[in-house]
């Protein structure tokens, strides 16, 4: 387990380095550059701009700037937001809670529904239910999240008046029930794609398991079919889902950005979009790096957890 851990962490470290190079190059090679916010106002002369560039260290060679930037990044100094005049990490931190709340709740919902659909589909393969679930999952994966959000708002907020059309809570009210009420809409919208993904993977994982020898052995021992399926098979079929959770993280983050925009949910995705509008370079860069690091950490954790849950993986 020790060498597996070390190897996996080492790989993640290398990836993090490449990720940082990609992120740094993207924002520095883009036209406009970090000075665009000053240049755009028009009341700064070229001399002023040069001075600011010198102060910000933008006149030095890119590799030097990169090394310094990475060093500060690793020390937790992610720069100061142009817009809020606050450290980027603190700005991200103040929006992270809302995003995590949304992502966790929708993942929970999607896992519960998706895994059930997958298991039932695998047990009754090619039945009407399985076919509908397969086609339904494909359609769910094709619906643009923002449009589904608009449909949910149109039906449940505008039409039926059951759900609020946006925000995390009513101003002046911050009770648990009020927050929960606001969470339902965005949670369902974000969970749609995840449910489809979970159901597909759970179905194929379950199919892999129920064709294995130990299931046949259990059958031949006369164990009731229900018990075989739900105690022997489902438990093992759930194992690969740990990996799926890690792999699904980038899609989930993208979906969260769109969902937050539609439901004016004050999370990281909205912050990212607003920061782009303000050309708030440090924040944009910070969130881009933060999400990539989150994905990296997620897949690392998933791999390690899988190693703990399934010893066969460690030696492979």
């Amino acid at each position: 387990m020790g060498s597996f851990l070390a190897r996996r962490v080492g790989q993640a470290g290398v990836l993090l380095l490449i990720v940082s190079i990609i992120g740094f190059s993207i924002l520095h090679l883009a036209p406009g550059g970090p000075l665009s916010q000053f240049a755009a106002t028009g009341d700064m002369t070229q001399e002023d701009l040069d001075r600011v560039a010198r102060q910000m260290g933008l006149d030095r060679p890119l590799p030097v700037q990169y090394a310094e930037w990475l060093w500060r990044l690793l020390q937790g100094d992610w720069g100061v937001s142009y817009r809020d005049k606050q450290p980027v990490l603190r700005v991200i931190g103040s929006h992270l809670g809302a995003t995590l709340e949304l992502m966790l709740s929708s993942t929970l919902l999607a896992m519960m529904i998706g895994c059930w659909i997958g298991v039932l589909g695998a047990i009754r393969r090619y039945s009407v239910f399985d076919t509908l679930a397969t086609v339904g999952a494909m359609i769910a994966l094709s619906i643009p999240t923002f449009w589904f959000g608009l449909v949910v708002i149109y039906v449940f907020s505008v039409g039926l008046g059951w759900l609020p059309a946006g925000n995390r809570y009513t101003i002046g009210d911050g009770s648990w029930s009020d927050r929960l009420h606001h969470l339902i809409g965005p949670c369902i919208v974000l969970a749609l794609v995840s449910t489809a993904v979970w159901s597909r993977y759970m179905r194929s994982s379950m199919l892999d398991v129920i064709n294995q020898d130990y299931i046949r052995t259990a059958r031949s021992k006369g164990i009731p079919e229900r018990r075989i399926l739900f105690q022997h098979a489902v438990r093992n079929a759930l194992l690969p889902m740990i990996t799926i959770a890690g792999l699904h993280l980038p899609t989930l983050l993208s979906g969260a950005l769109v969902t937050e925009t539609v439901f004016t949910w004050p999370g990281m995705g909205r912050l990212f979009l607003d920061s782009i509008g303000y050309r708030d370079y440090p924040t944009v860069m910070g969130i881009l790096m933060f999400t990539a690091m989150l994905v990296l950490l997620g897949s690392l954790l998933a791999d390690l957890l899988y190693g703990v849950a399934d010893p066969r993986i460690r030696t492979a």
Binding site: P144, W147, L150, Y154, V158, I276, A292
Partner: protein, 299 residues
């Protein structure tokens, strides 16, 4: 060289066909009813978007202030009008031209990048392969919308740049698929034989290996069109994609949220078009997967 020629496992032999339309793959595809539905839908949709605007009495830019917010199926405008009194059907078809074109073009470019990277990484392996594939891994760490928005916000958005951007964020999966295929294929006897005959690296890669990896590439290409159309709609909806007055299915939805109560068709119609097009491509991809590789899902 003692082994008889017959023992060398060559590229999978092509069965003799009576006619091109009778190939087993095509027959399997036709049996996949959803895939046929998808193919027909895309054909009809593409034709409608190309020909339709010429046949309509209104152009997509014709503004008729007196006819603002005309609901669908009422009066002269079949699908109603928007906040400026522009004909929705004309706009949907013109938007379809852009969205479908972006989808196909971005797919083509992303396939070229992905196939090249996958070929080189899979064929040479070693340090080159490792570096290329770690780069692919790193690119996949960035959630695609974040990456697209970060770059599109800092450049002047136009149709061409949007196509390039989407392609730039969509080639990694293809590279992974091709790399895995090539890595397995290059150990096979026919590839080794071609090398032994003195064929150049490029020739082995393109003439020997690539044709044998074409099935998963075709499937990935189909799914990539669906992905590209979705990606375009996302960033256009968020305001950083195709810029008005050029309509795209995504940017038609951009303003629609404000009129959700008074004119819901402004939001519903473009979204339905996106869903229809993307679902169709996904169905086709699924059908192609079954048709080109009979082993999948045939446990």
């Amino acid at each position: 060289m003692t082994s008889p020629v017959g023992a060398i496992d060559g590229p999978p032999a092509k069965p003799a066909l009576t006619s091109r339309w009778d190939s087993p793959a095509l027959r399997r595809f036709r049996r996949h009813r959803l895939a046929v539905f998808g193919a027909v839908t895309i054909l009809v949709l593409t034709l409608a978007c190309i020909v339709g605007p010429f046949l309509l009495p209104f152009t997509d830019t014709f503004i008729d202030i007196r006819q603002r917010f005309a609901p669908p199926l009422s009066g002269a405008h079949v699908l109603g009008t928007d906040q400026l009194g522009r004909d929705m059907l004309a706009r949907l078809l013109m938007a379809g031209r852009i969205s479908l074109a972006v989808g196909f073009a971005a797919m083509a470019i992303s396939m070229v990048i992905g196939v090249c990277v996958g070929l080189v990484a899979g064929y040479y392996g070693g340090a080159i392969g490792a570096v290329l594939m770690r780069f692919v891994d790193a690119m996949l760490c960035f959630p695609s919308i974040f990456l697209l928005l970060a770059v599109s916000a800092f450049i002047h958005p136009g149709v061409e740049t949007i196509i390039l951007l989407i392609a730039f964020t969509a080639w990694m999966e293809v590279a992974r698929i091709v790399e895995a295929q090539i890595k397995a294929l290059r150990e096979r006897d026919f590839a080794v034989a071609a090398e032994a005959l003195g064929a150049s690296d490029a020739r082995v890669m393109i003439r020997e290996l690539l044709p044998n990896a074409i099935a998963p590439i075709v499937v990935a290409a189909t799914l990539n069109v669906a992905h590209a159309i979705l990606a375009e709609s996302y960033i256009s909806f968020l305001g950083y994609g195709i810029q008005p007055p050029t309509p795209s299915w995504g940017n038609m939805l951009d303003n629609a949220q404000g009129y959700l109560t008074s004119a819901p068709w402004l939001a519903m119609l473009p979204g339905a078009m996106i869903t229809l097009a993307v679902t169709s491509f996904n169905f086709i991809g699924d059908g192609l997967r079954d048709a080109l590789d009979p082993r999948t899902d045939a446990r």
